[in-house]
Amino acid sequence: MAAVGAAAAVVPLVAQMNPDASTIAAGAPIEVDLTPVAEGQDIKVFWRGKPIYISHRTKKQIEDAQSVNVSSLPDPQPDSARVKEGKDQWLVVIGICTHLGCIPIAHEGAYNGFFCPCHGSVYDTSGRIRSGPAPLNLAVPPYSFVSDTKIKIG
C-alpha cells in the first residue's frame, strides 16, 4: 500500500515538469500566407518555439528531390511522402537538425538543400538526410492547405 501511495505521490512531482497549460495553448496551430514567397525563396516561421522552413522549390529542386534512388538514403522516404499531393513546389519542414537540434541553413550544402553548421549534417532539397551524423530526415510538421496560398501548421 505504502509503495502505491509513494508512487502516486511521484506522479504530480514529475508531471509538473511537462509543458504547462499556457505553453500548450501557445502551441496552437498557426496560419501562414504563402503569396509573398517567390519561387526559389523560403521563409522561416516559428511554431511552438521551433523554426519552420517553408520553401517554394524551383523545378530543378523538385526534380533533384524526386530523382533520387530512395533505397540508397539513410532514412528512405520518397519526396512525395514529404509534400502534399499536387503541391510539389511547397516543402514545409521543421528546421531543427535531427542530430542535436541546431538550425540548419537553407540553400547550403552539397545538395543545395540544408546544411547544419554544428556537426556537418547535409540535407537535400526534400529535407532528407544525405550525409553527416543526423539519423533522420528533417521532420515534416503537421500542416494542411487551407486554400491554394495559405497553410495551417499544427
Partner: protein, 692 residues
C-alpha cells in the same frame, strides 16, 4: 572519525557540550590529531583546494542569485546589470564564472593523481566511487550554470545537450519535452535549471562529507602506495598537513586571481556576450573547456545513440576502475609499464579535449575516432592486461623508508605532472580559441594595436573615450543601439570622465517618452541621468526593414563578443601577457577594412560591401565613416584611423566599464597573496624541518 577520541577538553563550556554532542572531539580527531602519511606530495593538497573552491562557488553563487532574474527576457540583462551596477558585482561574477573552471582544473589534477597512485584500490573503492559521483554532479551543475546567463552559447549548449536524451529509443522525445517543459529550450527550462543549479552544490557538499568520511575510515593513500605501519610513518594533520594545504591553497588562489583580475574572459566564449537567439545557431557550438574530451567522444561515433552511449560510458567506466585494474601494487612509481601507459592516457585525454574544440570534419573526425578507441582501450584492455602481466618493482618497506630513500625523483615527477597538466590545459584552451576562429573563415587577421587599457596597469585615456563617445553618438548611434548604457554612466569613475553636470546636459538634450500621467496620457520630457541611451529603432523588425534585412547589432558588449584566431603558440603567450584586446582590434580593423571596388575574383552579393576583416567579406553595413566626418575639438586629426581607434576604445569601455577598478584591485590582491604565500612557505619549512 577514526577510533575513540583522545580529545580531552578542559574548558567547562566545551566539556558541557562535548558530553551532549561530541562535535569538538570529531573535529579534533578528523582535522587535528588525524594521522597523515608523512610522504605526501603537493598533489595531495588538491582535496583541500577543491573544498575551498566549493566554498567559493557556493558563497559567490548565493550572492549572485540575489541579483539574478531567471527569465528568458531578463536573464541576460540581469547578469549584465550585476556586472555593471551592483557594488563589486563584476568581481563576484568573474569569481563565479572563472571559479567553475578552477574547480575543474583542480578536480582533474585530483583525479589524475588518484589514477597515477592507485588511490582507488582496495580498501578505497567506495571513496573513489563517491568521487566519481561528485564529478558527475559537478558536470551537471556546471552545465546548468552555463545556461543561466542566457547568451548564445548558453542557449545552444542547452539545446545540444538536452537533445542527447532524444537518442534514447522510444521514450527519448517525451523525455526531452519533459526536461524542457515546452517544445524547445525556453523559459520553463531556464527556470528549472536555475532551481537545480542552486540545489546541486549542496548535494555535492553532502557527497563531499561522505567522501571525506570514507577517506578518514580508509586513511589517505600516499605516493609509495604502502599503508602506514608505525607512528614513524605518519604525522598529525595539524600542524603538518594544515600548513602545507594552506600554502598550496594560497598558491592556487594566485593562479585563480590571475584569471579573475587580468584575463577574466580567456576561458569564456565571446558568443556568450550575445543574447540567446533561438533563430540563429552560432556557426560553431563549443561546450565549456572541461567537457571537451567527452564532446569529442560524442562526435566521433557516427551514430547518434552510439555517440551518447560512448560519452556517458567514458565517465561511467571510471566507477569500475577499482575492478578493471586489479594489480596489487598501488603506486605507478613501482609499475614501469603502467606508468608509461598512464602518461599516454593523459596525452590522449588532452588531445581529445583539443579535438573537441575543433570543427567535426576531415582529419579531426578520424583522429577523434582513434583517440576514443585509445581512451576506452586504456580502461578495458590495458589496465586489466597489465595487472596480469606486469612485474612491479620492489616496494619500500615502509613510508619512513620511502622518505629517507629518495625524495628527488618523486619531486621531479610531481613537477613534470604539473607542467604537463598546465600545458594540456592551454592546448585545450587553444583548441577552443581556434575553433571559434574557424567560423571567421575568410576574414583577415586584424593587426594588433597598442591600447592604453591593455596590460596589468592599463587605464582608459579619458580624452580618447570622450572622442569615441562623440563618434558613436554622431555616427554609430543612428543605426546601432546601446541598450546597457545610461547617461549616468558617462560620469562613472573609470569612464569618459564627464562631470555629472555635463552628463546631465547630454541627457537633457534628448526627449524621452514617459507616462502615463494622471490623465492617463503619455508625454515627452527631457532625458535624465537614469535614462538609457536612446534606441535608433523601436524594435528589431523596424531595424531590419531600414537596413536591407540585416539588423544592426547592439554595441554595448561588441568589444567582448567578437573574436579571431591568434593561432598557436600565440594564445599561450596571450595568457601570460594578459592579451584581451581582440574585440577592439577587430572593431578598429573592420572600420578601416572597406575596399572599393572589391577584388576582381570576389562575387559581391547585392546590397553588401566588401570588407577585408569581415567573415566571408560581404558585410551589409556600408562604410560608416570617412575622414573629417566628425569634428574633434582637441586637435586630434580627423582621420578614419583615429575615429576607428577612438570608437573601439569607447566600445571597450562600454563592454567592460569596471576594467580600471578590476586591474587596480588585481594588483592589490596579487601583492597580498604573494606575501601571504611566502610567509606560509617559510612557516611550512619550519614546521616540516623536524620530519624531513
Amino acid at each position: 572519525m577514526s577510533g575513540p577520541s583522545t580529545f580531552q577538553p578542559t574548558n567547562p563550556a566545551i566539556k558541557w557540550i562535548e558530553r551532549r554532542l561530541p562535535i569538538f572531539g570529531l573535529v579534533h580527531a578528523s582535522f587535528v590529531a588525524y594521522p597523515t602519511p608523512r610522504n605526501l606530495n603537493y598533489f595531495w593538497t588538491f582535496g583541500g583546494i577543491l573544498s575551498m573552491m566549493l566554498g567559493v562557488q557556493i558563497v559567490t553563487g548565493v550572492i549572485l542569485a540575489m541579483h539574478y532574474t531567471p527569465h528568458v527576457d531578463m536573464a541576460f540583462n540581469s547578469v549584465e546589470s550585476i556586472v555593471r551596477d551592483v557594488n563589486y558585482g563584476w568581481l563576484l561574477r568573474y569569481l563565479h564564472s572563472n571559479g567553475a573552471s578552477m574547480f575543474f582544473i583542480a578536480v582533474y589534477i585530483h583525479m589524475f593523481r588518484g589514477l597515477y597512485y592507485g588511490s582507488y584500490k582496495e580498501p578505497r573503492e567506495v571513496l573513489w566511487i563517491l568521487g566519481v559521483i561528485i564529478y558527475l554532479l559537478m558536470m551537471a551543475t556546471g552545465f546548468m550554470g552555463y545556461v543561466l546567463p542566457w547568451g548564445q552559447m548558453s542557449f545552444w549548449g542547452a539545446t545540444v545537450i538536452t537533445n542527447l536524451f532524444s537518442a534514447i529509443p522510444y521514450v527519448g522525445d517525451s523525455i526531452v519535452t519533459l526536461l524542457w517543459g515546452g517544445y524547445s529550450v525556453g523559459n520553463p527550462t531556464l527556470n528549472r535549471f536555475f532551481s537545480l543549479h542552486y540545489l546541486l552544490p549542496f548535494v555535492i557538499a553532502g557527497v563531499v562529507v561522505l567522501h571525506v568520511w570514507a577517506l578518514h575510515v580508509a586513511g589517505q593513500n600516499n605516493p609509495a602506495g604502502v599503508e602506514p605501519k608505525t607512528d614513524k610513518d605518519t604525522v598529525p594533520f595539524t600542524p603538518y598537513a594544515t600548513i602545507k594545504d594552506s600554502f598550496a591553497m594560497v598558491c592556487f588562489m594566485i593562479f585563480f586571481a590571475w584569471f579573475v583580475f587580468y584575463v577574466p574572459n580567456y576561458l569564456g566564449d565571446p558568443d556568450n556576450y550575445i543574447q540567446a537567439n533561438p533563430g540563429v545557431t552560432p556557426a560553431h557550438i563549443v561546450p565549456e573547456w572541461y567537457y571537451l574530451p567527452f564532446y569529442a567522444i560524442l562526435r566521433s561515433i557516427p551514430s547518434k545513440l552510439g555517440g551518447v552511449i560512448a560519452m556517458f560510458g567514458a565517465i561511467v567506466v571510471l566507477a569500475f576502475l577499482p575492478w578493471l585494474d586489479s594489480a596489487r601494487t598501488r603506486s605507478s612509481r613501482y609499475r614501469p609499464l603502467a606508468k608509461q601507459f598512464f602518461w599516454i592516457f593523459v596525452a590522449v585525454c588532452i588531445v581529445l579535449g583539443w579535438l573537441g574544440g575543433k570543427p567535426a570534419e576531415g582529419i579531426y573526425v578520424i583522429a577523434g575516432r582513434v583517440l576514443t578507441a585509445c581512451y576506452f582501450a586504456y580502461f578495458l584492455i590495458v589496465l586489466p592486461l597489465l595487472s596480469r602481466i606486469e612485474r612491479p618493482k620492489a616496494l619500500p618497506n615502509s613510508i619512513a623508508d620511502d622518505v629517507l630513500g629518495k625524495g628527488g625523483t618523486s619531486r621531479a615527477m610531481a613537477s613534470s605532472l604539473l607542467a604537463l597538466v598546465l600545458a594540456g590545459g592551454l592546448i585545450v584552451a587553444g583548441g577552443v580559441h581556434s575553433a571559434r576562429a574557424a567560423d571567421e573563415h575568410g576574414g583577415a587577421t586584424p593587426p594588433s594595436l597598442k591600447w592604453s587599457f591593455a596590460g596589468p596597469f592599463g587605464k582608459f585615456d579619458r580624452a580618447q573615450l570622450q572622442r569615441g563617445y562623440k563618434v558613436y553618438k554622431e555616427v554609430c548611434s543612428t543605426c546601432h543601439s546601446m541598450n546597457l548604457l545610461h547617461y549616468r554612466n558617462l560620469a562613472d569613475a573609470g569612464g569618459p570622465g564627464f562631470t555629472p553636470a555635463q552628463a546631465l546636459a547630454v541627457a537633457s538634450d534628448t526627449t524621452v517618452k514617459d507616462g502615463p500621467n494622471d490623465a492617463g496620457e503619455m508625454f515627452d520630457r527631457p532625458g535624465r541621468l537614469a535614462d538609457p541611451f536612446p534606441k535608433p529603432f523601436p524594435n528589431e523588425n523596424a531595424g531590419r526593414a531600414a537596413n536591407g534585412g540585416a539588423y544592426p547589432p547592439d554595441l554595448s558588449l561588441m568589444a567582448k563578443a567578437r573574436n579571431y584566431d591568434r593561432g598557436f603558440p600565440q594564445f599561450i603567450f596571450d595568457f601570460f601577457t594578459q592579451f584581451q584586446e581582440k574585440g577592439p582590434n577587430y572593431i578598429d580593423a573592420l572600420l578601416q577594412g572597406y575596399v572599393d571596388p572589391p577584388p576582381a575574383d570576389f562575387k559581391l552579393p547585392e546590397g553588401a560591401y566588401y570588407n577585408k576583416y569581415y567573415p566571408d567579406h560581404a558585410i551589409k553595413m556600408p562604410k560608416p565613416i570617412s575622414d573629417d566626418q566628425v569634428a574633434y575639438d582637441d586637435g586630434t586629426p580627423t582621420k578614419v584611423e583615429n575615429y576607428a581607434k577612438d570608437v573601439a576604445t569607447f566600445l571597450m569601455w562600454t563592454a567592460e566599464p569596471h576594467l580600471e577598478a578590476r586591474k587596480r584591485m588585481g594588483l592589490q590582491v596579487m601583492i597580498f597573496l604573494v606575501i601571504l604565500a611566502s610567509l606560509l612557505y617559510f612557516t611550512k619549512k619550519r614546521v616540516w624541518s623536524a620530519v624531513h
